[in-house]
């Protein structure tokens, strides 16, 4: 099969593997309106973030940055932005429009309520969808691919099948000049010395150590002893003997190449190659961060199964657990259980996953795409009052 990629070229030179019109809600109170618009315009993708109203300080920065960066993910052709009031809508629209993307903006207060704004949003989306439909795919270099890697619902099969195989595909992407972003900082605990040893420079090394140490300190403040609690009883039952073993299995999914950079939640890498994003581990929050970080596609390794996908970054679910691939087949894209049941080699399994990655980049919808298993949750840094 062809190893080439194709994509939709953006004005900033990046490539999308999809050509989405995003219906972006600024914050929780305009989510229903954005969903209504997306449900009326087939193919439009709603981006509905949790919270966002009266965020303070670092929360405000994180919310805005994540919403804007999701709207400028390379897979986005253009956007309809909806907010309760015009100034917050404009803040987002202007940032997205700066990248050369067409944006339509509506405000519930100024534009006459949610039903009116839903109609206006539909009209705007119809125009954008038609315009987007005229754009053609062009050859896309592998160096333009930013692959996110995620794990969730991990079990005994994750560390021996789906994670190592995802890591082999991640290596392939890096070797072809692309970028791989791994995240879920707390999962590195136990193997952070190894990550640090792969860091390109002392500053990056310190950043990864600090990021992992923060997880331990913060958890302690809320009464959780991460080192003492890991591996957890179900991990131990599943065969994980030490936290080092658990973490090593987890980081296997992220490529073995040098660590080029450590970036923050929803931030964009400035380097190509293997990059680490410091972000919380829960799947929806983490994929929200990865997609804002510019990943055009996410490989999600799962043992017991997980349904979630990101609305803007197609999410490929892969499992090596023979029970999961049967029971949760509707929420799984790649079945690697033959490694366990038939002795298939990890190298052959990597070929299967690589082909799926290429197919998805060319347009194959994932199960999460087809079933609409989309959710967006922006991690919080502090409380609202």
């Amino acid at each position: 099969m062809s190893q080439e990629l194709s994509g939709y070229r953006r004005k900033d030179g990046k490539f999308g593997i999809r050509n989405y019109v995003a219906i972006i809600s600024a914050m929780d109170n305009s989510n229903p309106t954005a969903r209504r618009v997306a449900s009326m315009v087939r193919g439009a993708q709603a981006v509905c973030p949790t919270f966002g109203r009266a965020s303070m300080g670092p929360d405000l920065n994180q919310h805005l940055r994540t919403v804007v960066n999701t709207g400028t993910n390379p897979n986005v052709y253009g956007a309809v932005v909806i907010s309760l009031f015009r100034s917050s809508a404009d803040e987002i629209s202007q940032a997205i429009a700066k990248t050369g993307r067409p944006v339509e903006t509506y405000a519930i207060e100024e534009d006459g309520g949610t039903a009116n704004v839903a109609n206006l949003g539909v009209r705007g989306a119809l125009q954008l969808m038609g315009d987007a439909g005229r754009q053609r795919r062009e050859p896309m270099p592998w160096s333009e691919l930013v692959l996110g890697v995620e794990c969730g619902g991990s079990d005994g099969s994750s560390g021996i099948v789906s994670n190592p195989v995802a890591g082999m595909v991640a290596d392939m992407v890096v070797d072809r000049g692309g970028t791989v972003i791994m995240s879920e900082t707390v999962e590195v605990l136990g193997a952070e010395h190894l990550m640090a040893a792969r860091a390109k420079d002392p500053a990056t090394k310190q950043k990864i150590l600090d990021a992992v140490n923060f997880c331990v300190t913060y958890a302690k403040e809320v009464g959780v002893d991460l080192l003492g609690a890991n591996p957890a009883p179900d991990n131990i039952k599943g065969g994980l003997s030490t936290i080092e073993e658990k973490a090593l299995g987890a980081i296997k999914k992220g490529s073995s190449r040098p660590l080029m950079e450590v970036i923050g939640y929803g931030c964009r890498p400035t380097k190509k190659g293997f990059v680490f994003m410091d972000a919380p581990a829960p799947g929806v929050e983490n994929m929200t961060a990865l997609a804002a970080g510019g990943t055009q596609v996410i490989i999600f390794s799962t043992g017991k199964g997980n349904p979630s996908g990101h609305p803007i970054a197609p999410t490929i679910k892969v499992s090596g657990n023979p029970f999961t691939v049967e029971l949760l087949q509707d929420n799984l894209d790649v079945d690697l259980s033959a490694v366990i049941t038939k002795g298939m080699s990890l190298a052959d399994a990597a070929k299967i996953l690589e082909h799926e990655l290429i197919d998805v980049c060319w347009g194959k919808p994932t199960k999460a795409d087809l079933l609409g298993e989309f959710e967006v949750a922006i991690s919080r840094l502090c409380r609202t009052v």
Binding site: G159, G239, T242, E244
Partner: protein
Amino acid sequence: MARFLILDEKDNVAVAVEPAKAGESAALSNGKTLKVNQEIPFAHKIATKALKKGDKVIKYGEVIGEATAEISPGDHVHIQNIRSLRA
């Protein structure tokens, strides 16, 4: 014959891809075989080399802990005979 996967050539353990009973033969992914000394559930580890107390246990090509007792090839390697160097 129960199949076991060796993840890295530097490893001194292999991982069960199917549950193994005591007395069975273990078929390692490098082609070698081993006798299984204790029951080993799916995804649990079997020692492929002899380890003394204090020896490092290697999986994924890295240290995952150290042996807390003497371990013979074919033994179940888990919390009863390996401890973390972190906690």
